[in-house]
């Protein structure tokens, strides 16, 4: 049982780290700000989400589980808002109001 859980942790954390890598590569390689923003949101949502998912079996208490889920939820909320707000800031910059 514990071996299966550990394996789950390893797989989820590796996947999460992969999405951080993907987000960073996108941030560096994509040609314009909007596509870079797209890459960034992948790291925010999937990267951290998978790492939290992977750490859940390692949590030692109910409070620990609750904290992990709360952290993921807060980052989700913030990430979504930041994507919206930054995207409209980029748009404003590209076509300035007449």
């Amino acid at each position: 049982m514990s071996l299966a859980l550990d394996l789950f942790t390893v797989v989820a954390v590796v996947l999460g780290a992969f999405f951080f890598l993907a987000g960073t590569v996108g941030l560096l390689r994509f040609p314009d700000s909007l596509s870079r923003l797209h890459a960034l949101t992948k790291a925010d949502n999937l990267g951290l989400g998978l790492i939290v998912l992977g750490l859940l079996p390692q949590a030692t208490s109910l409070l620990g589980v609750l904290k992990l889920v709360a952290i993921w939820g807060l980052v989700q909320l913030s990430g979504a808002t930041v994507a919206q707000v930054v995207a409209s800031a980029i748009r404003r910059r590209q076509d300035p109001p007449s």
């Binding site: 960073t24 560096l28 951290l48 790492i51 939290v52 390692q58 913030s78 808002t81 930054v86």
Partner: protein, 87 residues
């Protein structure tokens, strides 16, 4: 297990550190903000992994603070930034 989690933490720090090149390169300030945002999320992930690996008391609470303020820097930037040019 602890070694693996720490290695993952190290990998994420290294990854988002490379992303910090965007802070140096820009070109626009909005790109710099995005790099900072990525580092924030990466910081949360790192703290969580270190907390699970070393059982450092309070590392999770530090991650909770960072998660709560995850949007703060980017929003501060957008709100304060002058309207027309982002450069």
């Amino acid at each position: 297990m602890a070694e693996f989690l720490l290695a993952a933490a190290g990998l994420i720090v290294a990854t988002v550190a490379v992303g910090l090149v965007r802070i140096l390169a820009g070109p626009a300030d909005v790109d710099r903000t995005m790099a900072a945002q990525l580092l924030g999320t990466g910081g949360v992930a790192t703290l969580l992994l270190v907390a699970a690996a070393t059982e450092a008391r309070g590392a999770e609470d530090a991650a909770l603070c960072l998660a709560l303020l995850a949007a703060f820097a980017s929003i501060a930037f957008v709100v304060a930034a002058p309207r027309r040019d982002g450069r």
